[in-house]
Symmetry: C2
Subunit: 180 residues, 2 copies
């Protein structure tokens, strides 16, 4: 199977893989659009490793490894998950899209589909946004799809690292179904 | 539909519900077995609110509201999610089981079922454990089922608040399917 994969400027080889950066990983990437909390960044590295994501794009104010405070929640996953940094998140999104990779935003919009009903196409890059302001409107204009996680309670959002985990494992489910 | 619900010593009414503590909430409860991190506790409150869980059992070293550091991640959800505190987590589990409520541990054991294949029965109480040592063996001896979230990467576990979110939304999916 031929997979389109974005180039990572700072690839870090998974210690358990001999040949190829993305061998064994899903052609699923995530763009972290200006994530404020360092703990959330670390947690997303840990989840990306667990779910088998192909790599992370860290953008804008999102903290980058190596940092002790990222490791507090990443617990070493910064060494197993490929990542790259772009200062401007919209430029990163445009670059990814130009490689023929679908963009999927996790955001509550008028067009958003329930995350459980969305069949993730591969390859894709999903985008999670800033803890308060969400995914930038400049990026929402670029995306092919938007998905949302319904809120049953009185609060209007989940922690971004928790949402990231819910999506990452939904993506893994889609991947296994499409490749079984 | 008749639902068995555990009693909460410290029920906190959801501001949007007039009549009944659990009206609108799923008969799904969670037991937090000695959770070390206050941020994880707050995050689980926020997720419980979002997914519509019936309530949380905080046990052992798990921090309890009101606390400023819990609110840092709970963002007010401690006021909408019913909760109770038990010093001994196994006593709490036994008490819940005695009310006819199934116990489901999130733990990697020989008998664990893949979380995506498990049809959660209702009512139930799912149990998440300490960040390092997991769910106590004394509790594992009591549970009716164990579920696990497979790890694709080099790390062997997810952050407990992320796992909690993945399970909570799987439970919501089961609930909606069983009641559609």
């Amino acid at each position: 199977m031929t997979q389109q994969v974005p180039k990572f400027n700072q690839p870090v080889l998974r210690p358990d893989l001999e040949n190829n950066l993305v061998s064994g990983l899903m052609p699923s990437f995530a763009l972290l659009d200006n994530i404020r909390s360092v703990w959330n960044v670390g947690s997303m590295f840990r989840t990306a490793d667990a779910a088998g994501l192909g790599g992370l794009y860290l953008t804008g104010m999102t903290a980058t490894p190596p940092r002790k405070d990222i490791e507090k929640t990443a617990l070493g996953a910064t060494l197993s998950v490929p990542w790259d940094y772009w200062k401007d998140s919209a430029s990163a999104a445009r670059n990814i899209k130009d490689q023929g990779i679908s963009l999927v935003a996790l955001e509550q919009t008028e067009k958003s589909v329930n995350w459980q009903d969305f069949e993730f196409p591969f390859p894709h890059c999903f985008i999670v946004g800033h803890e308060v302001s969400g995914v930038k409107s400049e990026i929402l204009d670029l995306v092919d799809h938007s998905v949302e996680i319904p809120m049953a309670g009185v609060k209007h959002s989940l922690n971004v690292a928790v949402s990231f985990g819910i999506l990452a494992y939904r993506i893994r489910q889609c991947w296994l179904e499409q490749n079984s």
